[in-house]
Structures are given as structure tokens and as C-alpha cells.
């Protein structure tokens, strides 16, 4: 196992952000952590990467207990995260930004800067190497976030919503980049709201709701899981959706109307989703 959480909990005052979470991320995997807003996904990332200390439970990375280890030590072990709200070194160029990560394994400034160009190539930032980071578009900033994490040569990269804020075309361009990273031998665990991308990329999915794990398994199974549907659409919404599905199945091929109704209901429910 590359990364393992054992019964990890964390509260902020009265809010139980993460409760008794256990999960295992295998090597050479591309998996996703999803859940409604406020489910505690980013908190889980912070707990994994040393930005927060768990109140209870343990975190293991490559078999080593890293519970409470500071973030920079985690990075040295090969566990790096990106940030949902991009955090560029705004006054520095793209090349300099990426070189900071490369310095984790390269002491020489010249080598780090040239390694930065290689990584930029990998994520499609090669043309912007000398741009100051503050002048980048949202899409380019997300790529920079990815490139910086990648430049540390991690074993596991935690990507916090690298697709959020991108338009469909930009998302389509980003998917092969993420696949390429995994192919190059880096395991990726991503938090993502763009379902199409999750289904497309991740083989294994964990669904978090109100700090608790409500589903884990292959991504194809997720959309049929009652608990997941309830978490996303609410109890009433889930019931309505289920009824519509049942109706559409029993009346299949008999009345066109019912199918349409079911499809409509489903479309209503998913209105904001796809």
C-alpha cells in the first residue's frame, strides 16, 4: 500500500470534519475522492499531506507512520499535494515556480531550472515558461499547480480540484496530461467535482459525506449506489429518481410517455450536474 489512513478523525471546534476515516491507496493507481461541498475532502488531503494533524488515527505512507509529520517532511518522502485555490509564487516566472519543486532533489539552480522546462513540457506549459505566474489564465495556473507538484518527483500526488474552473475544452485537454502522469509512474489521488472526468479517469472512488466514507469501489458502481445518490440529491430527490427509474423499467416499451417522464425527472434532478 502506498498510503493508508487508519481511523483518522479531525474536528474543528464542534464540527467533525472527518470521522474515523480508513482508506488505502494502492501503488500505481489513479483514484478519486469525491463528495458534496463541505464533505471534508480537502481536510482529508491536509491530513494526508501533513498540513493538519489528526486528532485520532494514523497515517501511513510506504509503510512508514507519518502521523503528525510536517508537510515539508511528507514532501521529502514523496507525498505532495496541490491546492484547490491555486497558490502560485506570483512574482516569479513559471520556470522559477516549477524549479522550487525541482530543488527537492536537485541542489544546483541551473539543473533545477532546466528540469523545470522538462516538467513544463509534460503539462503543456512549455510556451509560458518565462511568463510571471500572476499573469497566467486560470487554466494555466491549474497546470502550474500540477507542474510544481510533479517537479518534486512524488510517488503520490494529491490533486485538489485541478479541473475546477476550467471550460469543457480545457478539461478535455487536461485529462491526457493527468493520464500521462500516472503512466509515468506517479500515483494520483484526486478530489474532483467534474463527474465526467472522475468516471473517465479514476478506477477507484471514495465518496465522502459529512466527514464519513459512504462508498468505496469502482467508479462505475458509484452512480448506482443509494447512499451516494442520497448524499448528492437528498433523500427526497433520491426517492423520486428511484421511482422514475422503476417506472421507466416496468413500462419499458409499453408507453413512450413514462420513459419520457422518467428521463425528464432525471434531467431535472441532474439539471445542474452535467
Amino acid at each position: 500500500m502506498l498510503l493508508e489512513l487508519r481511523g483518522v478523525s479531525r474536528s474543528f471546534g464542534g464540527l467533525k470534519a472527518v470521522q474515523g476515516l480508513s482508506l488505502q491507496v494502492p501503488e500505481n493507481s489513479l483514484s478519486a475522492l469525491i463528495g458534496p461541498n463541505g464533505a471534508g475532502k480537502t481536510t482529508v488531503f491536509s491530513l494526508m499531506s501533513g498540513f493538519l494533524k489528526p486528532d485520532q488515527g494514523q497515517v501511513f505512507f510506504k509503510g512508514q507512520d507519518i502521523t503528525g509529520l510536517p508537510a515539508h517532511e511528507c514532501a521529502k518522502l514523496g507525498l505532495t499535494r496541490t491546492f484547490q485555490i491555486v497558490q502560485p509564487f506570483a512574482n516569479q516566472t513559471v520556470r522559477e515556480n516549477i524549479a522550487v519543486g525541482a530543488h527537492l532533489h536537485l541542489k544546483s539552480r541551473v539543473q533545477a531550472l532546466s528540469y523545470a522546462s522538462e516538467v513544463a513540457e509534460q503539462v503543456g506549459l512549455a510556451g509560458l515558461l518565462d511568463q510571471p505566474a500572476r499573469e497566467l489564465t486560470v487554466a494555466a495556473r491549474k497546470r502550474l499547480e500540477l507542474a510544481r507538484g510533479l517537479s518534486t518527483r512524488p510517488s503520490l500526488l494529491l490533486l485538489d480540484e485541478v479541473l475546477a474552473g476550467l471550460n469543457p475544452q480545457e478539461i478535455a485537454e487536461m485529462l491526457p496530461v493527468i493520464r500521462g502522469i500516472v503512466k509515468a509512474g506517479v500515483s494520483v489521488l484526486m478530489i474532483e467535482h467534474v463527474m465526467q472526468a472522475v468516471m473517465n479517469l479514476a478506477r477507484h472512488v471514495w465518496v465522502l459525506s459529512q466527514g464519513e466514507l459512504i462508498f468505496q469501489g469502482p467508479s462505475e458502481m458509484m452512480s448506482q449506489d443509494d447512499a451516494v445518490i442520497e448524499a448528492y440529491f437528498g433523500v427526497a430527490g433520491a426517492a423520486k429518481l428511484r421511482a422514475a427509474q422503476v417506472a421507466s423499467q416496468t413500462l419499458k416499451n409499453t408507453t413512450l410517455d413514462a420513459t419520457q417522464t422518467a428521463a425528464q425527472t432525471a434531467a431535472e434532478l441532474q439539471g445542474g450536474q452535467t
Binding site: H72, A75, P88, N91, Q92, R109, G165, N167
Partner: protein, 357 residues
């Protein structure tokens, strides 16, 4: 390397001035300008590259000066040896004060206030304890000789302070071309992002404070050797802290030549105003203040920014199709003015259970 060559040329040019000019006015100005440069460079290491704004750098300056005088008066040490120890002790104090402040995560204005407080504490301590001579101050006996680090002409002092300015320039060049410097600037720009990339902000900031404090201590020791008298208000007073940070800010923080340019320009300015408006006491400070405000407003990146602005403008003129210009839409997107992008819709939809039910 380009920086090293530039530093060499600078050292040579400035070093040759005393050989050509024996004018007391010019040499005195040059000495004071280089002295102000050293303080600004020292501040620039921590403030410009580390992003930690200290308002109390006088604490290191004063400690350097007192170490220099006490080692000579009480132990009869050679001033050259004392100078080395003064730098080391100031640097040590820097590491200690840095560790105390950064251990508790003090940042921004809180760090600035704490450094201000440190300087005041040291000033008051120096006023009240016995061995510093209290408010009466301490006097270094006049005895001009190279061994005593007291020179009969200003030229000696110019060369001495020039050496320290060059040391500071070399340290700054190191910050620009090394992993340590890259890490320090990463911490300045975004501490969390730096941590995620394996940077330990605490040790970095402490090390930067140490370097900065050491240079400041050298400045204090130099001050004592030139004026041969110090008291707590002179060396621990806030004007030293202010002049160190103003020079760096006016010239351009986080740059190699900014503090040099800034400190020299300000020294020139204060000399001019003092000569032109000498009969109106304090008018020089008024002009100084007005200019400072103007520079802050119109040149937030300092005098060095002036050149960069000119260079980038001429570059843009040359390559009109250089980098893809931002379309108005993407610009407004990145400014957060256009709220809806398709991929973000799930975020807003999923949260509200109500609109599904």
C-alpha cells in the same frame, strides 16, 4: 556570472574614487552612502528576499556597535578581531530572535511589531544596565592607526565599508542563484505552497534573519569605528531601522542593486536638502517624506522597477505578437468577474439539496 562581473566593476569604480578625489565632502558622502547601503542590503536579505518586514533592525545594529566597543574597552581586543565577533554575536542574536518569532508563526504586521518591540527592549536595557554606560554612552579613545581601525583620512573608512557592501552584494547574488535563495523567495511568495514542495519555512527564515543580522552588526561596528562614540538612543533608536528599510524599499526590494540605488539616492537627497534648505531646520525631512510618498505611489517596485518598466515596454513594442494576449473574457474570468463556467456548476448544484428535491 553576470552578477559577479557587475559587482566587480562596482567595487573597482567605487574603490578608485578616493584615489582621484581627496575632497572631504565627496569622501564623506561616499562613506555615509555606502554605510546606508550596507544597512539597506542587510534589511533586504530578510525583508526583500524573505518577505519578513522588520521594523527593528536597529537591535542588531546596536548589538554590533556595543560588542565592538565593549570588546575593545573591557578586554582590550583588537578592533579587527572585535569586528568578527560583533558580526557573529549579532548574527547569533538574529537567529535567536528569529527562532522565537517564527516558532510562534508570527507574520506580516505581527512580526514587524515584535521586531520593533525587541529594538525598544534593547534600547531601554542599554539605558539601564551599568556596563553599557547607560545614557552617557561609551567613548572609544582616539588613536589613529590601521591596527586600531581608525584612519586619518576618510579613504580608509570608504574602503572598509566598501568591503562590507561587496560582501552583502555577494550574499544577495547568492540568494538570486541558489537553492537557498529560491526557497526563501518561495516562502516569501506563498508559505503553504512552499511547504507542499518540501521547504521548511522555519529554518529558512531563521537563517535569513541570521544573515541579515550579521550584516547589520557589521554596520553597527563600522559606525562605532567612525564616530567613536555611541549611546543607546543613537544605535538602538528607530531611525536606524527606518533608514535600513526605506533604502531597500525605495530602491527595490528583493533585487541585487535596488538597495544600493535606493540608499545612495536617499543619501544624496538628504545631503542636497540639507545644503539647500539648511536655514529651515527639518525641511529636508519634509522633502524626504514627500518624495518617499511619491515613490511608494508611482514606483511600488522601487527605482529598479523604473528600468524594468522601460525594458518591458520596449520589448512589447518589438514583439507585438509575442505571447498570446489575454482576451477580455479570460481576463475577466481570472479576475473572477464572470462567475459561471460549466465545470463549476456541479459545485453549486450539489450543495443545495433543496433545488433537487
Amino acid at each position: 556570472m553576470k552578477d559577479l562581473r557587475a559587482i566587480g566593476v562596482f567595487a573597482l569604480l567605487v574603490g578608485l574614487v578616493p584615489a582621484f578625489s581627496h575632497s572631504g565632502v565627496i569622501l564623506n558622502w561616499l562613506m555615509m552612502a555606502l554605510f546606508a547601503t550596507l544597512l539597506s542590503q542587510a534589511w533586504n536579505v530578510l525583508g526583500g528576499f524573505g518577505g519578513q518586514f522588520s521594523f527593528g533592525h536597529a537591535v542588531f545594529f546596536g548589538t554590533g556597535a556595543y560588542t565592538q566597543v565593549l570588546l575593545q574597552l573591557s578586554w582590550g581586543l583588537s578592533p579587527w578581531l572585535a569586528l568578527g565577533l560583533a558580526v557573529l554575536i549579532s548574527a547569533g542574536l538574529g537567529a535567536a530572535l528569529g527562532a522565537v518569532s517564527f516558532r510562534y508563526g508570527l507574520k506580516g504586521s505581527y512580526f514587524a511589531l515584535v521586531t520593533l518591540a525587541f529594538a525598544e527592549v534593547f534600547r531601554i536595557l542599554a539605558l539601564s544596565v551599568g556596563f553599557t554606560g547607560g545614557g552617557v554612552g561609551l567613548m572609544l579613545p582616539l588613536s589613529e592607526s590601521f591596527g586600531n581601525m581608525q584612519f586619518s583620512s576618510r579613504a580608509g573608512y570608504v574602503w572598509l565599508i566598501l568591503c562590507w557592501v561587496v560582501v552583502a552584494l555577494l550574499i544577495t547574488a547568492f540568494l538570486r542563484h541558489s537553492r537557498f535563495g529560491a526557497y526563501l523567495q518561495a516562502v516569501r511568495d506563498n508559505e503553504d505552497a512552499a511547504r507542499a514542495l518540501g521547504v521548511n519555512p522555519f529554518t529558512l527564515k531563521c537563517a535569513a534573519t541570521m544573515l541579515s543580522a550579521g550584516l547589520m552588526g557589521a554596520g553597527g561596528a563600522f559606525y562605532l569605528q567612525v564616530f567613536q562614540y555611541i549611546d543607546p538612543n543613537l544605535v538602538y533608536g528607530s531611525h536606524t531601522s527606518i533608514s535600513a528599510l526605506v533604502g531597500a524599499i525605495v530602491g527595490g526590494m528583493g533585487t541585487l542593486w535596488g538597495p544600493v540605488l535606493g540608499a545612495m539616492a536617499l543619501e544624496l537627497l538628504s545631503e542636497l536638502t540639507r545644503n539647500l534648505f539648511g536655514e529651515l531646520p527639518g525641511i529636508n525631512l519634509v522633502i524626504y517624506g514627500v518624495l518617499l510618498i511619491l515613490i511608494m505611489v508611482f514606483l511600488p517596485r522601487g527605482l529598479v522597477g523604473l528600468r524594468e518598466r522601460w525594458v518591458s515596454r520596449s520589448q512589447r513594442a518589438r514583439t507585438p505578437l509575442g505571447l498570446a494576449p489575454k482576451s477580455p473574457v479570460t481576463e475577466r474570468l481570472s479576475a473572477g468577474e464572470l462567475p459561471v463556467t460549466q465545470s463549476e456548476r456541479p459545485t453549486s448544484g450539489v450543495g443545495g439539496h433543496g433545488d433537487a428535491a
